[in-house]
Amino acid sequence: MKVLKKIGYIIALALFLTLTLGPFIWTFILSVTPEYAMMEKTSGLFPDMVIYDNYRELLTEGTQRGALLITGIKNALKAVGAALLIGIPVAMMSAYALSRMEFKGRKLIKNLLLITMIIPVMATIIPLFRLFVARQWLDDIFWLSIVYVSSYLPMATWLISNYFSTIPKELEEAALIDGCGRMASFLRIIVPSSYPIILSAALIMFLNTWSQFQIPLILASSLETKPVAIVVSEFMTKDSVQYGLTAAAGIIAVVPPAATALIFRRFLISGMMRGSVKG
């Protein structure tokens, strides 16, 4: 029984690894294959000749494409950073009010917030663009990141408020009796004990924001502001589909979020874990 279980686990693991990593490996192979060799009608999986030109070109800041990609990565990081710095505190304040305070309209506000999770970008993009034009917010990473915040605020607020409601009320009441104000008790009691969820909400927001395409395309596609996802898509142009280059750029673009996920992976789970357990 135990042996069977072990074999089952190994098979499942092998399957999982193949299916998850397979496409990445295949993309990597393509990224080092010369352009014409991709079109050849052979069943050979590996090219006769391996070229690292694509990576060389993309990772040298001196080349035009390299500069583009590197700026793209920087832009994406900036937008993600700004979105987190603004989004997380806003989500925490909302979550605190929604999970631990009684007031008129609480349920309505919460439902309205949650329902926005389902709204497609297409439904808001044209009026948003007009607004951005009128206020001169176009091509500005700060305002772009506020739009990101608006699309992930519902999910973040929901996760965090679930977590807050698991923190025993008594803790906070004790602080209130000690003469702390509501805000002080929020900052001293609630915030410190909920860092796992905060980190996990931040990581979720990071991963979702990193891959944004349509929003920045319309609102911030200038050279100084466009994120890496757009840069990568631009390697596939009307008259030259540069598969090798696109593949290489795709691989490079995955590195920052993957590295972040690797570092903070622990919090991803522990943060969400307490979400539903009653205090």
Partner: protein, 433 residues
């Protein structure tokens, strides 16, 4: 301890975010100031000033070229590089908001009709001399108004692999479409090439344009004068494509892979015959892209009884947006950018193919463009197939056409049904005009 550090960090991030909120406020205060700056820049534009240029990467002039232009005219050019597909989206969104995305923008030939109908482009003045030397200008003209000046040439030219012809014992280059078909059959039968004909059949723009120029070079006409499809010509072209598909002279992969991939099959010897972009002249001599260098020959496009007497061009141009506040400077830029000297320069720096026939001729004659074959002769045959200029419903028409062709390729329809589907749609669009 750890918790304390973290809570401090979080507290800090709250403060930072508050500060960010404040700086956000500042930013919005800053913006009007910026706006003033740009306004002053606009005012200066009478004696120089600055314009924005939105084009795909291949159209961006080098820094030296731009510096030269600035010295000459005093106008500074701010470049905004946007992917080709995305430029149209941006134009559309911006124009819907009553805004100029840039002063000078890329205008593809296929956008001319809708941009004109939507009134987004400023008519340009072009001398008759230039018009006469630039056959693709016709494509950018609507109701006698020139809406953009072509800067990159692209017209249909045929290519075939000479070595494969030798291997199969075929002597002469094909003169007619029927010969192309027969030769492809021979190539396949003799085992020289499995899928000799490169034909885009995927549901995309290239599939529609292929049908258009096939019909055009085969029968000299695609559309009737009222804009509807010419039944005899288009149906014949569709049936020709159907025949190629049925006899498996076209790679099944062409049905779903991108049109560019279908074209590129000739560069690896997987296809023998291609009618496609002029850029394949230089691609066929580029070691990185081509594994059969020296075997690909650019020739005149075949026709019905002999070589075709017309060919279709798919050029790209530059236009000035209606909402632009620096129209004069923008027009100066376009004039400079499309001048004979610049076209020669751009060929060297961006491999752009000149739109002025005189420049093209010069580059071919002095050997700058290698392996040119019939490139020059073909350039003189460019005539637009659209009787009233590119129609405003082009995008919707092309969508209906490529979807019908794709369905035919996948075996869901025969040529007659596919034709009927596109004919109905086009008639509907013409009527709605």
């Amino acid at each position: 301890m750890k918790k304390k550090v973290l809570s401090m960090f979080l507290g800090l991030s709250m403060i930072v975010s508050l500060a960010a909120g404040c700086s956000g406020g500042n930013a919005s205060e800053d913006t009007p100031a910026d706006a003033e700056n740009t306004e002053t820049a606009a005012e200066e534009s009478s004696d120089g000033g600055s314009i924005t240029l939105m084009v795909p990467d291949w159209a961006i002039p080098t820094e030296e070229q731009l510096a030269e232009f600035k010295e000459e005219s005093g106008i500074e050019v701010v470049v905004n590089e946007v992917g080709w597909d995305d430029i149209r989206d941006k134009m559309v969104t911006a124009a819907a908001g009553g805004q100029a995305v840039a002063d000078v923008v890329e205008v593809d030939w296929s956008w001319v009709g809708e941009f004109y109908a939507a009134d987004w482009l400023e008519p340009l003045d072009v001398s008759d001399e230039v018009k006469a030397d630039m056959p693709t200008m016709e494509t950018f003209t609507k109701d006698g108004k020139v809406l953009a000046v072509p800067y990159a040439n692209d017209y249909r030219l045929s290519y075939y692999n000479t070595k494969q012809y030798e291997d199969a014992g075929i002597k002469d280059e094909p003169q007619t479409w029927e010969e192309v078909y027969e030769n492809c059959k021979t190539l396949k039968e003799k085992g020289v090439c499995d899928y000799p004909f490169a034909l885009p059949l995927n549901a995309e723009e290239k599939t529609s344009t292929y049908l258009m120029w096939l019909a055009y070079t085969m029968n000299g006409v695609v559309f009737n004068d009222d804009g509807t499809l010419n039944r005899d010509s288009v149906l014949a072209a569709l049936q020709y494509e159907e025949k190629l598909i049925k006899d498996e002279l076209v790679d099944p992969a062409d049905k779903t892979s991108s049109g560019m991939d279908a074209y590129k099959r000739i560069l690896s010897g997987s296809a023998n015959f291609l009618t496609g972009p002029t850029s394949f002249v230089s691609k066929s001599t580029n070691e990185e892209e081509c594994s059969v260098i020296g075997q690909i020959m650019p020739i005149l496009v075949p026709g019905k009884d002999a070589k075709a007497t017309v060919t279709m061009a798919l050029p790209e141009g530059l236009g000035v947006t209606k909402f632009s506040e620096n129209k004069d400077a923008a027009k100066k830029f376009i004039k400079w950018y499309t001048s004979a000297d610049m076209q020669e320069n751009l060929n060297a720096s961006n491999t752009a193919i000149p739109t002025l026939n005189s420049v093209l001729k010069k580059l071919i004659d002095d050997g700058t463009i290698k392996n040119a074959g019939a490139m020059m002769e073909e350039a003189e045959l460019i005539v637009s197939p659209f009787p009233g200029g590119v129609p405003s419903y082009y995008a919707e028409m092309s969508n209906a056409m490529y979807n019908a062709i794709n369905k035919m390729a996948l075996g869901e329809m025969n040529a007659e049904e596919a034709y009927a589907e596109m004919e109905t749609k086009v008639a509907e669009l013409v009527k709605a005009e």
